[in-house]
Amino acid sequence: MIELFEWLQSLSFMTFIRESGVEYPIVMSTHLTCIGIFGGLIVITDLRLLGLAFRDQTIADIVNGLRWWKRVGFIVMFAMGFTLFGSKAAEYYANPFFWVKMSCLILVLIHALIFRPLVYNHPEQLDATPVIPTRAKAAGALSLILWTAVLCNGRLIGYYEAPVQKRSFGVSSVELK
């Protein structure tokens, strides 16, 4: 698999981003901006599903109203994140925090596959019940935990320094911020 990572990193676009002056931090800032202005919408949805906030608004109004904003934010965030990863892919390969983050993202995908048909696709059903169903609270709690884990491990990627580089990846660990 390391060959695949090295190939990705060697692409001209990825090399340009890695060796650029201001473009790399702009991509990273845009990634973080999406976390800021769209990630909070995930929190709003989760808090409503848990019944901890926005209780005078229906679950359907919040889930349906924020759905497309969250999707747009996720697409931009993913594109920027993939560019950051691709530009230093070989170094990410050796970083345990990167793999923990990827594992958490796979769990986020599994969370979506399980709870989309049960919760998110039919929020009106949740409003029709006198008490918020356990499945909706579970979806909100797990979403909060998983996205927090994704965020923290994403940041910790920058703190990892490989002990000794046995292969030459063309990028020093100091550059991975």
């Binding site: 800032s29 202005i37 769209f38 909070g40 929190v43 709003i44 359907a60 109203g65 924020l66 904003w69």
Partner: protein, 150 residues
């Protein structure tokens, strides 16, 4: 004397690899939390976001959570600052971030608050307020991240 005290605080903070990393994770998570809440109000001012609601309703619902997020951001931020005060104070991106942060906070609790809390404000004013608010918070994020690259 003050510099010696600052240095001793920095030494304590840098004595463990995890203090700065934990503070930064809290800083970024709380930033997403609080700016996301403010953004929800801005989306409503723009005419999108939470359905069948008003900007004032979204503002009142989000305010306690926004303040909670800001509190964590403003508590974790000084920990990051104190780890290397000299570097931060001489860093142009840090200065830009502090200026943008001051403007964002003042704007948020004055004009933004007043416009969002009144549902009788004209649409152009609501749109401009939302755009300025989003621009200020995005500036804070960009300024913060560029500190590492300045």
């Amino acid at each position: 004397m003050l510099l010696l005290q600052v240095d001793s605080i920095a030494d304590a903070l840098n004595s463990s690899d995890w203090i700065f990393a934990t503070a930064e994770c809290c800083h970024i998570a709380a930033l997403a939390w609080s700016i996301g809440m403010t953004a929800a109000v801005d989306y409503k001012l723009l005419g999108f976001g939470i359905q069948r609601s008003t900007p004032s309703k979204v503002l009142r619902d989000t305010t306690p959570w926004t303040i909670l997020g800001f509190a964590v951001v403003l508590l974790s931020g000084p920990i990051l600052l104190l780890s290397d005060v000299r570097m931060y104070l001489h860093n142009p991106s840090f200065r830009f971030k502090m200026l943008a942060l001051a403007l964002a906070i003042v704007f948020n609790f004055t004009i933004h608050w007043k416009v969002a809390d009144s549902d009788n404000v004209s649409k152009p004013v609501q749109v401009i307020t939302a755009i300025v608010s989003l621009a200020l918070w995005i500036s804070v994020i960009f300024g913060g991240l560029f500190i590492a690259f300045a």
